[in-house]
Symmetry: C2
Subunit: 460 residues, 2 copies
């Protein structure tokens, strides 16, 4: 709860113009991409690490819960305000503190937009590999908190793999520095990766030192039409059995293709297409055609109806049309999308998709599946009407069945979206009680009063 | 302290033949590669995860400190027994629990030899990238505890980057499972990377799920003779400014070359060579020659006396002779090698090596430097006579100066060897007090009685 005293202290510390407690501002920060909202008691806009230290100390002193927030582009409720909490928006912390292309690193404040980092890196022949779908507006602090990822993860890994060090503020306002500025470093415990993916429950990340990679010279794309999901996913397994690692390996199931038909984006798919793969390769101009050839060889097999390749930018854009139109198209199926980004071992994908189809049919629910097949990371979207209680009951039954099956198959609840508020109830299915007890004990060390992003990540 | 009661309980739990308390056995486990020894009270040889759970519970109950140990190949005292402790040797836990090439993963017990993992992976067209110098005999558990790395780290990263999940036992005997079996997963806090590099102070790792990569089809090597360290290290910076990432980028300074002269291994170096670079590229057979060409172009510049390339296995072996003969040759300079594996930003290497030369001269100490230049990871070897107190005093002064300079340059105390007993006193120079306090608080959660590898990693 935010008392008048606490509010006035925040104003003193950050300045009047950095603390908003009016109804409009609070309403603007009541939700992220999750279909839920909780109006916070106030919104703070720190502009510096020092501001964050000050506000964390005041929050600790007054017992005010804090909900850290980047762009609010997450979809598991990671930035959904806890009741009675104050949102800490990092939007105004957008400075690039240091850009050192010769050492392939960049130091940024938590509010820098993900794609701005990539853009700056590319100006010096480098790039920042993690490419979450929200990269055009998401903030790096949010990416770090959730360990975000995107299609390129299959070749380049996730946010965690590109962080060298962090500056952060714990729940009692202590300033910590983790990691280092070099690509190797083993001094002390690895608090850097402990903070990455901790969903703001351990500390407020204020600055990050990120590693950059040489930008690939060329890129090329394959679009493959298959007669069934099973055949497409068998091809994914074949890709894993040869040596070329694609920089994207995306899958769309039949319902996803059906969803884009009304938009015209499926018009140029081969007749009878019931599953689509998008495969991309990057590297030197000389090597990319060889990679594409090797990938094409591996992709050939039962059920492949058509393979198209694109090497020029406009060809590539055209080939991606079907996949890129999906997000909007899906929304037309039903007003609410329950989006689960589960992961199963790549060789189990085919059986898992079959299970989803059976579940969808048995429960009369439209379920659209697509995702990062090369990581076994499937986005399973239950399209529902939230005002239809019977449908919602069936959706919850489907979710329970899906999560259990994911774990039976040796998978994990979330590949990139995180737990937030939405998946908390499933966590005990995956994490054993003593392991979870240790996680809670660690949380307690960082945040003794339990003020940092309460109600997230940990089950109730 | 090991009481007769505790010893008898260990024997009951593990079996008579798994517990050694005789003088000979204890003497065999009194040291690792650090020039120091402490005779442990006993040596335990668990053969299973369940054994480790049992022994940890007994240790907790009786208050017996445990010193976990792989092959004892570390050189910072990570496996040096704490006084009064019992060594837990993982040598007998050598089972490959699961090898799943189709999902590019392997599950192994902690005592499996590092290179055996790589060998098995290669039998299926895959490989395990981390390649510590001790890989032929080191155990994966030790690699995980220390976050080991080797030359390939410049392209493929360190041990941490190849671990998906762990099974481990905490100081009070709780069994934990961390991470997952897939290449993406964000459920809960990242305890996997917290354990990696924690030097056995948080938990006893019993099993690891490791990620594997497609084995490169071809490899080729460049050996480059330079007229000075500065010119060689300028060339390293030029490598970082272009897009081909070599899979090894090793440096040897003049004193290192001098050290190998008596062995004949320097006979085929160009006259006037005062620094050597070894650069390697791997990938598809078609692409490796192109990479070598690009690397050669970047390496050309002032002071390059000679560049030789090797594509066939025997040529490559011949080119590596100078570098591979170094470890043994160095030992002839003086009886004791104080080996510091500091890291500085790559662009600072040249100035740092100059500083080392000045320090060596001022303090009349032979210092041999070589290492993984592509990561800025230099092995600085002070060659000393431990029975010469004056020389030892100068060596300690040199160490202090070197560590301070490393941190001034934005570097870190250790790139791959770890802290162990040997670098504890320097840790507070790098890690801030509140950060260190958090690390200690975390340790306390995993190991409430402080029994796991006491006297390591944390400063006194």
């Amino acid at each position: 709860m935010l008392t008048a005293n606490a509010l006035s202290d925040f104003r003193l510390a950050l300045g009047e113009d950095r603390v908003f407690a009016d109804e409009d501002a609070r309403a603007c920060y009541a939700s992220d991409e999750t279909p839920r909202s909780v109006v916070p008691d106030a919104v703070l806009f720190p502009v510096s690490h020092e501001h964050v230290v000050a506000l964390a100390r005041l929050a600790h002193q007054h017992g005010v819960a804090l909900t850290p927030r980047g762009a609010g582009s997450g979809n598991v409720g990671g930035a959904l305000p806890a009741p009675g909490s104050v949102v800490v928006s990092f939007e105004c912390m957008r400075r690039v503190i240091e850009f050192d292309p010769d050492n392939r690193l960049i130091v940024v404040e938590a509010g820098v937009v993900t794609e701005d980092i990539d853009r700056l890196a590319r100006s010096a022949g480098l790039f920042y590999p993690p490419d979450p779908g929200s990269g055009a507006y998401s903030r790096i602090g949010g990416n770090l908190a959730m360990n975000a990822a995107g299609p390129r993860a299959v070749k380049y890994g996730v946010t965690r793999d590109w962080v060298l060090g962090l500056r952060a503020v714990t729940g009692d306002g202590a300033e910590i520095r983790t990691g280092c500025r070099t690509t190797k470093g083993v001094t002390g415990l690895d608090l850097t990766r402990l903070l990455v993916g901790s969903e703001g429950t351990l500390a407020l990340i204020t600055e990050a030192t990120l590693k950059l990679a040489p930008a690939p010279e060329a890129i090329a794309t394959l679009r493959l039409c298959f007669d069934s999901a099973a055949h497409a996913l068998d091809a994914v397994s074949r890709i894993m059995r040869q040596s070329v690692v694609p920089c994207a390996l995306e899958f769309m199931d039949e319902r996803a293709i059906d969803a884009i038909r009304p938009t015209g984006a499926a018009d140029d798919l081969a007749p009878g297409t019931r599953a689509l793969l998008m495969v991309e390769a990057d590297g030197s101009s000389a090597d990319v055609p060889r990679q594409i050839e090797a990938l094409q060889r591996a992709l050939e097999g039962p059920g492949l109806l058509e393979a198209r390749s694109g090497f020029a930018r406009d060809e590539i854009t055209r080939l991606w049309t079907a996949r890129k139109s999906l997000s909007h198209a899906v929304k037309r199926i039903a007003p609410l999308k329950i989006n689960e980004d589960v992961v199963v071992p790549v060789t189990r994908l085919s059986g898992f998709v079959e299970f989803i189809d059976t579940t969808a049919e048995a429960l009369h629910l439209p379920i659209v599946s697509f995702g990062h097949a090369g990581n076994g990371n499937l986005h399973v979207n239950l399209m529902v009407h939230p005002d239809d209680p019977d449908e919602m009951t069936r959706a919850h039954a489907a979710l329970d069945a899906i999560m259990s099956r994911v774990l039976e198959l040796g998978g994990t609840l979330s590949g990139e979206h995180g737990i937030g508020t939405e998946k908390r109830r499933f966590v005990p299915l995956e994490i054993t009680p003593p392991t979870l007890a240790l996680m809670r004990a660690i949380k307690q060390q960082f945040d003794p009063r339990g003020l940092l992003n309460p109600g997230k990540l940990f089950p109730e």
